[in-house]
Amino acid sequence: MRSRQLRARDMLRGDLEGEELERYVEERVVMTNFDKMLGWARSNSIFPLTFGLACCAIEGIPMAAVTARYDIARFGAEAGRASPRQADLIILSGRVSIKMAPIIRRLYDQMLEPKWAISMGACSSSGGMFSNYAVVQGAEKFMPIDVHVPGCPPRPEAVLYGFTKLQRKIQGNPDQGWRARYGAHGTEEWARGGPRGEPSAEAAKAYLAARELIVSA
């Protein structure tokens, strides 16, 4: 400890030279570029919009964000903003009814760039169990979503995991999914047998058949 302090003093006096100086710099300076630093700063100071839609907002967000047990403040996002103009992140916490969708879209449009959206729970990702006249079948129909968190409602850990994924994305280093990690492309339910990125002929047929069933019921 003492020797390091002495070396710092020497450096400030300009007495450190040659190999010693190199070592000093190596120990103390992190090389980066401005974009990376900006991404790091951004990802650790996200202001989420104080906003809730349905039961996910009751069970998930307070558990994950507010309570000391899970505490989203660890990731620098505890400052909820009540105005979309001050927020960076909108968490769609619950089902989106067709009457609510234009309002959510307006909130999203009012947020300043850069902005992100997490769709939390089965409902806002896909309509969940509410396959009916009142609920939008997935919030992607009307706005871009960065991270989907599955569950009904998702565990607080899952919400925080989704949040850290978003942080990686903001830092320009998006995670590969588990399919990439395990080389499991082509095992998606809807793409079985088909070329990657397209549903197989059977899946497309099954989709039409299922649609028939529902429409004629």
Binding site: I98, K99, N132, Y207, A210, R211
Partner: protein, 172 residues
């Protein structure tokens, strides 16, 4: 709740003032009910509210139902409560389906029970039942430009099918 003879008594007394108003009486799920002709709805509700000895002064719920394929198809249910005796009675106004292009109609009871205002709008919103004389009969829960009456039984479910392996195997 009025017992069976009591209910018949009520029916008889209503018949004196409004002949042909009561179509049927019955007990469902522990509640006495009167099935009535929708043309007499205000008369019957008013009588139950004001006649001496009745005093069902509180409309605890108003809702609609679709009994497809039964005839008459629709019904508007009025759940009345006497708060002194804690007695309930259900009035069912049976409405026939007027066909594709027109909507079933019934008189609004907002004048008798102001609480009915929102509930009649809800019945209109979901079943397309028109309440004549309602001060502001518009959609209350669905978007104003919504087309259709989604709680009717012949309304398509909506949503989107999911292509699970199960569907693919069995229906593909």
């Amino acid at each position: 709740m009025p017992d069976a003879p009591g209910l018949e008594l009520i029916r008889g007394e209503i018949e004196q003032d409004h002949p042909g108003a009561v179509l049927d009486t019955g007990f469902e799920h522990g509640c006495a009910s009167l099935a009535i002709d929708p043309a007499h709805v205000l008369g019957v509700l008013g009588w139950l509210r004001d006649a001496p000895g009745q005093g069902y002064r509180f409309l605890s719920s108003l809702h609609a139902a679709d009994y497809l394929p039964a005839e008459p198809r629709f019904a508007v249910h009025y759940e009345l409560l006497n708060r002194d005796r804690v007695e309930r009675i259900r009035v069912k106004a049976l409405l026939a389906d007027p066909g594709e292009d027109s909507l079933p109609e019934i008189d609004s009871c907002v004048e008798l029970f102001p609480t009915a205002e929102f509930q009649e709008r809800e019945a209109y919103d979901f079943f397309g039942i028109v309440f004549n004389g309602h001060p502001d009969l518009t959609r209350i829960l669905l978007p104003e430009d919504y087309v259709g009456w989604p709680q009717r039984r012949d309304f398509p479910v909506g949503g989107e099918p999911v292509t699970f392996t199960y569907n693919e195997r069995n229906y593909g």
